[in-house]
């Protein structure tokens, strides 16, 4: 469903992405991990065109993202995205946050959007908080609203950019639970995360990045059982040693 071929990107003379090739099939959960600055957040943002690329090709279903003529707005409305810092709209209630895209992008009626929003908020366990403003919620709650906001668009895939790294340890599980449930429901997901527990639980494949390159792209069992590269072994031994 998502196909990346030889994707390269430079910030000035600094190369952030170096010939990245990978894919996510329908219903698959792919976890992208790697040390800070390895380009994983940049990589996931290229999927819906939030970051442009200079070389290579990205295709989502039949749409070529990297083509300048592509209607990115239409593509983005079909791919949900969740950010590290939640990025809920602070001047709108939780309910309005989940309604906005449905009404202004998909053109759904007010009542229909509201029903859908309430349903999704209930699904992420926040039905009681619909009238609150984002700042009145905890980080974990905000992130679950952000997931509901993405799901409200009936996306064909969900992108998660370090969804739990700005959260208190206690809140992380609430968010991961929602994500696991999504994965089990068959949602196509690409997840940048350091949560190896999550990867072990639901990932189909793990992509390991370092210095802008994809070093390892393996099934979950291969990656955790016998990582081929030294770099991945090093990384795993460090983050799994606690």
């Amino acid at each position: 469903m998502i196909l990346m071929e030889n994707v390269s990107k430079w910030y000035g003379s600094f190369q952030v992405l170096n010939g990245c090739t990978t894919s996510v099939s329908k219903g698959e959960v792919v976890v992208v991990c790697g040390p800070s600055g390895s380009g994983k957040s940049t990589l996931i943002k290229t999927v819906n065109g939030l970051e442009t690329i200079q070389e290579g090709k990205i295709t989502v279903e039949e749409t070529i993202v990297s083509n300048r003529k592509t209607n990115l707005n239409q593509l983005r409305s079909r791919i949900g995205m969740v950010f590290q810092n939640f990025e809920l709209f602070p001047h709108m209630s939780v309910l309005e946050n989940v309604k906005l895209g449905q009404m202004k992008v998909l053109g759904r009626a007010d009542s229909e959007s509201e029903n859908k929003a309430k349903l999704l908020l209930d699904r992420v366990g926040l039905a009681d908080h619909a009238a609150k403003f984002p700042s009145q919620l905890s980080g974990g709650q905000q992130q679950r609203v952000a997931i509901a906001r993405g799901l409200a668009m009936d996306p064909i895939a969900m992108l998660f950019d370090e969804p739990t790294s700005a959260l208190d340890p206690e809140m992380i599980n609430d968010v991961l639970d929602v994500m696991v449930e999504l994965a089990n429901d068959g949602m196509t997901m690409m997840v940048v995360t350091h949560e190896m527990g999550f990867a072990k639980k639901v990932a189909d494949r793990v992509v390991f990045m370092d210095e802008g390159k994809i070093i390892e792209d393996a099934t979950k069992d291969d990656f955790f059982g016998s990582p081929r590269s030294d770099r991945a072994q090093q990384f795993l031994s460090k983050i799994l040693s606690y």
Binding site: R76, F133, G150
Partner: protein
């Protein structure tokens, strides 16, 4: 110093009406110029944060031009030089037939100058809302225009209410420059009272009080507005 104080002068006909008349002109100039500054400044501020490099360039060029020439010089340029640069017919119309030439020129000059300052405030407000919010809007499929309408601008204006207040107070006080091209607004009237009665202290005290009353009213109104638009968790309005 021999000086005959006479505060009563301020309440005597016709001087009290001169003050009222002057205040009316001052307010009219300030409000008209504000409308121009606010609308044009907002458009330019949006342009300066646009993804389109040409729009960004136009916005930047405008700001650099209008912000870096003293307001008084701009006023004189519009009043004395601009009509000469126009085609003959239009130039004559501006000089001879344009209604209220001093007033119109002041409103225009003050509005265009303040727009450059408004532009910078709107720009900094939008930038303060941040790239994260912009991306979040884009990610649900909103067009650039809709991202501005529904996300960036509502938050940016809330953030800049306080500097906007200062800006309105500045435009209100800057309107006194109109007297240099013959508009007898509040400061002009005050000088006129002084010339007719030699009661300069009383006249200028009156002007000071009137200017202050207006600015305090504006500040009170803006504070009220800030409270009404308050969004939980927003730094700007957290009191």
């Amino acid at each position: 110093m021999q000086y005959n104080w006479d505060w009563g002068i301020l309440f005597r006909d016709p001087y009290i009406w001169w003050l009222v008349d002057g205040l009316q002109w001052t307010l009219t100039i300030a409000i008209c110029a504000w409308v121009i500054a606010f609308c044009l400044g907002s458009i330019l501020g949006i342009m300066r944060t646009s993804i389109n490099p040409y729009l960004r360039f136009i916005g930047t060029a405008y700001v650099e031009l209008f912000r870096n020439v003293p307001l008084l010089v701009q006023l004189f340029l519009w009043y004395f030089v601009f009509p000469e640069l126009l085609p003959e017919e239009a130039g004559r119309w501006v000089k001879r037939e344009m209604p209220m030439p001093g007033f119109t020129t002041t409103v225009l000059a003050l509005g265009l100058y303040t727009a450059s300052r408004l532009c910078e405030q709107v720009r900094s407000g939008i930038e303060a809302v941040g790239i994260g919010q912009r991306n979040a809007g884009r990610a649900i499929g909103l067009s650039e225009t809709k991202v501005y309408i529904h996300i960036l601008l509502p938050n940016a204006y809330r953030i800049i209410i306080a500097p906007l207040t200062s800006e309105f107070l500045t435009i209100f006080k800057n309107s006194s420059l109109a007297l240099t091209i013959g508009v007898i607004e509040l400061t002009g009237m005050t000088r006129q009272i002084e010339e007719y009665t030699f009661q300069g202290f009383e006249a200028f005290t009156a002007a000071t009080v009137i200017y202050s009353l207006v600015t305090f009213t504006v500040m009170g109104f803006m504070l009220h507005l800030e409270k009404r638009l308050y969004v939980p968790g927003m730094i700007a309005a957290e009191k």
